[in-house]
């Protein structure tokens, strides 16, 4: 700290040096040599030099001025005794010495020394401000902005690379599956916008990471929607999130069927985790497959898979040798296979106060496959999904042929009736409320109509008509009650 305090006067000395240099130069221009100066002339500086030996090395020796120049000496003393900032007391010793020196001087010879001392305290310390960063000619101060722009560029680069990769994967999938699809479906690729049903022969791009393909025109089914659900490789945030939690690309196939194409049953097979999840989430699986998922090992499947079924007969019917063979060979790629005549998607959150209609169901076969590679997919991996498409085609034909026996059919019908009844019971109160409100609305509307009638005659007539209608309703109700009572008896 002390050395810093001593630097300040040194700096000031340096600053003062050019100012005073001129004068000394004049001195030396006369050709005088330093040696000519009497040592005594330097006497007054000796003590100070001893104290500031290190710092004052650069202080010019020609600071020595002849005593015949009192003003210069005074200024020397100015330079020598620099006013420090408040609180700093590095110069205790030198100040003491200075004071001693002053007291030595003859007051008559040196005028204004007392004032000088006071003057020092009034001088403000020099504060050097730093140049504001934006006025400096350096880009370094804008490093945060440069970072931001670099981040944006990285995002854009990742977007282009990711989009390109997804596109290549989709194309690879389509190229390997095109032949099989075209041999099975009359219409391969449709976006629904063109007037005529002509195969577009290419995938619909819904997003940078989702591609659709609609195939139709085949026996045993209405149509098949294939969705290639890739990872969001185009979004850098997603890429970073996936580094923590790796997930893979998926292919989802949804086959919709007619009434004739499928008998009434609900069945699902897939990985244990997914089966547990689907049983909770899916409307039909939760209603019709109440039992816990059974291990696939019982039916010749790998242990990693489990089965949800409406009844044992269905499982036996679906899991024939070829199906077991398909599934076992591709077990790691299968996430879930879901056959249902009551498919209506996941459970919908019911809104309060709204009577829920029984959700619309559709006969559906739903397949979810995992693309191998777990994110690091190459176009070749898409080709390995071809056997799974063969399985899908086989399933469509199989389901058409699969018919429940009489017992099974009865059981299935009973299940469906039970579910419907439960649903009606649950919503009974809500429906009653809704009916009540509707009736009240009607009455109110009628009353308003009557009141708005200006003609008193017509008003009276309308009132009478309304009263008669009310009377009739009451009579009808009474009749019904009577009939019920009679029946009960």
């Amino acid at each position: 700290m002390r050395s810093v305090h001593l630097l300040v006067p040194a700096l000031l000395l340096l600053l003062a040096f050019p100012v005073s240099r001129g004068r000394y130069n004049d001195d030396f221009d006369d050709g005088e040599d330093i040696a000519d100066f009497d040592d005594n002339d330097f006497a007054e500086f000796e003590d100070m030099n001893d104290d500031q030996a290190a710092e004052a090395e650069t202080a010019p020796p020609p600071r020595a001025s002849p005593s015949s120049q009192p003003e210069e000496e005074e200024e020397d003393e100015d330079e020598a005794t620099v006013e420090l900032e408040d609180g700093l007391d590095g110069f205790e010793d030198s100040e003491a010495q200075d004071q001693d020196m002053y007291s030595k001087y003859d007051q008559e010879e040196f005028e204004g020394i007392g004032d000088m001392e006071k003057g020092h305290s009034m001088k403000d310390p020099l504060i050097i401000h730093t140049v504001p960063a934006h006025l400096q000619n350096s880009w370094e101060s804008y490093y945060m902005e440069i970072l931001m722009v670099t981040g944006l560029l990285a995002y854009i680069m990742n977007y282009l690379i990711g989009k390109n990769k997804n596109s290549r994967l989709a194309q690879a999938w389509f190229n390997s599956h095109k032949e099989l699809l075209e041999s099975n479906f009359a219409l391969v690729g449709d976006d629904g916008t063109s007037k005529e049903a002509v195969s577009t022969g290419k995938l619909n791009q819904e997003n940078e990471h989702i591609y659709n393909l609609w195939c139709s025109g085949r026996v045993c089914c209405e149509g098949m929607l294939i969705q290639l659900k890739f990872l969001k490789r185009q979004d850098l945030l997603n890429v970073l999130a996936r580094m923590m939690r790796p997930i893979g690309d998926q292919v989802q196939i949804k086959v919709t069927l007619n009434e004739d194409d499928m008998d009434t049953f609900v069945f699902a097979v897939g990985t244990k985790k997914v089966m547990a999840k689907l049983q909770k989430e899916m409307q039909d699986l939760s209603e019709f497959c109440g039992d816990k998922p059974k291990s696939g090992a019982k039916f010749g499947l790998p242990d990693s898979l489990s089965i949800l079924s409406e009844m044992g007969e269905v499982t036996d019917g679906v899991m024939d040798n070829k199906m077991v063979h398909y599934i076992t060979n591709n077990a790691e790629k299968i996430e879930s296979i879901h056959f249902s005549d009551q498919f209506s998607g996941p459970k919908v959150m019911q809104e309060e106060g709204q009577p829920l209609k029984l959700p619309e169901t559709k006969r559906t076969l739903l397949f979810t496959f995992n693309v191998p590679g777990m994110g690091n997919t190459s176009p070749k991996d898409m080709e390995s999904l071809l056997p799974l498409m063969n399985m899908v085609i086989y399933s469509i034909d199989k389901v058409k042929k699969l018919r429940l026996n009489r017992e099974g059919k009865m059981k299935a019908d009973r299940n469906r009736a039970r579910v419907e009844e439960n649903f009606l019971k649950q919503t009974h109160a809500q429906r009653q409320e809704a009916a009540q409100t509707r009736r009240e609305e009607k009455k109110r509307a009628e009353k308003e109509r009557i009141m708005s009638e200006e003609d008193p005659e017509r008003q009276r007539r309308l009132e009478e008509a309304a009263q008669r209608r009310e009377q009739k309703k009451i009579e009808k109700k009474q009749m019904k009650m009577k009939q019920i009572k009679v029946k009960a008896m």
């Binding site: 479906f185 139709s216 025109g217 149509g223 996941p346």
Partner: protein
């Protein structure tokens, strides 16, 4: 005439059904809300960006993320407008205060 096939051709021209885009009203869970949220966030940050520089930068990032996640069917005009808004927020905050951004630490 059709060439003889060992396996009968399963294709049926008369059974063709046109593609109907699955309506998002029935399946609201299937729709990805990311682009809409990011759009909204981008606009909010753009507004705040006039006061704080880093808000403006985050707004730019939000509009980029929204664009990357957007569906093909979505209006490009909206994307462009949110993007332009965020860029203008950045530009205006620097015109107002050319000082470089100071890191929060």
């Amino acid at each position: 005439m059709m060439s003889f096939n060992n396996v009968s051709d399963p294709r049926r021209q008369n059974k063709i059904l046109r593609y109907k885009a699955p309506s998002t009203e029935t399946n609201p869970t299937l729709e990805d809300p990311t682009p809409d949220y990011m759009n909204l966030l981008g606009m909010i940050f753009s507004m705040c960006g006039l006061m704080l520089k880093w808000c403006a930068w985050i707004a730019v990032y939000c509009s980029f993320i929204s664009f990357a996640n957007s569906r093909s069917s979505e209006d490009t005009k909206q994307m462009m407008s949110s993007f332009m808004l965020s860029i203008s927020a950045v530009v205006m905050s620097y015109l107002q205060n050319p000082q470089p951004m100071s890191p929060p630490w």
